[in-house]
């Protein structure tokens, strides 16, 4: 699927301009933007639910040990407005996820970008960068 440069530029701009006030809770209190992580694995479960959609990925290490990661997306209403559907991710898909690690040390991350099974690299509508910035205060 071809995407025009202007759309890509706009979308990247959207990601970069987005602050963290985009979910129903603080991003920085749950995830550490300074701990980026890239996970490659197989989708084991998708939860298309509020307040955040989630999907789970089995990541196999070199010894064959599999770790299941819990990855947070935005809420379905935000994802749909960004072009997602409940079928964008499916159990069995091979994906690469870029995100930020949870601060509490659990096998959780906030997904920022997902490389889908078909190779497209999509913004993930995470609570750390999913929507237009909130209206600016008028001075």
């Amino acid at each position: 699927m071809k995407v025009s440069l202007s759309v890509l530029t706009a979308l990247v701009g959207l990601m970069l301009s987005a602050g963290t006030a985009l979910a129903h809770h603080s991003f920085a209190a749950e995830y550490d933007a300074n701990k980026p992580i890239t996970l490659k694995g197989t989708v084991s479960k998708v939860e298309w639910m509020n307040p955040h959609a989630r999907f789970y990925v089995d990541v196999r290490d070199e010894k064959g040990t599999v770790t299941n990661w819990n990855l947070e997306l935005a809420s379905p209403n935000v994802l749909v407005r960004n072009g997602w559907t409940r079928k964008s991710l499916n159990v069995g898909d091979e994906v690469v996820v870029e995100g930020s690690l949870a601060k509490d040390g659990s096998k959780m991350a906030n997904a920022r970008v997902v490389k889908l099974a078909d190779g497209r690299r999509v913004f993930a509508g995470s609570s750390g960068g999913d929507a237009a910035p909130p209206a600016q205060p008028q001075k």
Binding site: N34, L39, R120
Partner: protein, 260 residues
């Protein structure tokens, strides 16, 4: 970071933990699963003056986004102003944990806080309704029939609101709040003495300026005024957002409210 790095090294995982430098780099281009779209899709925001209803008042209807504090209410203060918060309440605020935020726990935002989701204004001859998509898929009702506030109100999340027009500005006076909601992510507090006066002015088709005076001498030494502007979302409709559907993960929000 070190503990996490050691853990990953020991595990010899297939995934990669990159350095913090990555966070500052411009990411490669991404798109949406649909190949286009994004929140800015849809018709351009119309320009020109606001329209009027048959009764002559300004038509405030439409789907809006923003218009109140999300992260920090002080963002809406006039330049150079600071919150006149009482020291004891500043101490309370500084001790708040992000996981205690009522909004994170799928409770209402109260007034004047906004969530980051769209909302709609619906005007009828007797009421004005604010319909919220997000926290918590709820509504405010503003009585437009000239009634006064009842003398003895049970404290509630949205309080008791009466509205009137001053020229082309809708003025909404609200009392009877509970003290449970926060003004923003960082935990800015209030008490049950809170009295808000919101002034809604549709300065043009696409902009709704909301100026709110916060009068709460329980938590502040004097009233203060904040101003935020809601933006019209033409062509947008409200969607369902039932926050409580699966909010068990709130327990992972381990940081201080100030970390926003």
């Amino acid at each position: 970071m070190r503990r996490v790095s050691l853990f990953f090294a020991a595990l010899g995982c297939a995934f990669i933990v990159t350095g913090s430098l990555m966070a500052q780099q411009t990411p490669p281009a991404t798109t949406s699963p649909a190949g286009s779209g994004g929140l800015n899709r849809g018709p351009a925001v119309p320009t020109g003056p606001a329209l009027r209803l048959p009764n002559g008042t300004i038509d405030l209807s439409g789907v809006w986004q923003g218009g109140g504090p999300v992260g920090n209410i002080a963002d809406g203060l006039a330049k150079g102003e600071t919150l006149p918060i009482r020291p004891e309440w500043k101490k309370t605020m500084d001790g708040r944990k992000a996981m205690q935020d009522p909004e994170a726990n799928c409770l209402p935002t109260g007034v004047p806080r906004r969530d980051p989701y769209p909302w709609r204004i619906l005007q009828t001859p007797t009421h004005t309704f604010l319909l919220f998509e997000g926290n918590i898929h709820s509504y405010r009702q503003i009585f437009m029939d000239g009634r006064k506030h009842p003398a003895d109100l049970d404290p509630t999340w949205y309080g008791h609101s009466v509205g009137r027009w001053e020229g082309d500005t809708l003025v909404v006076d609200t009392v009877g709040f509970n003290d449970k909601f926060w003004f923003d992510f960082i935990g800015t507090p209030h008490t049950e003495q809170l009295h808000t006066v919101e002034r809604y002015t549709r300065t043009n088709m696409g902009s709704l300026v909301i100026e709110t005076t916060i009068d709460d001498l329980g938590a502040y030494t004097k009233p203060f005024t904040i101003t935020f502007t809601a933006r019209l979302r033409p062509g947008e409709e409200l969607m369902e957002y039932i926050c409580n559907e699966n909010n068990e993960w709130v327990k992972h929000i381990v940081g201080s409210a100030k970390e926003f």
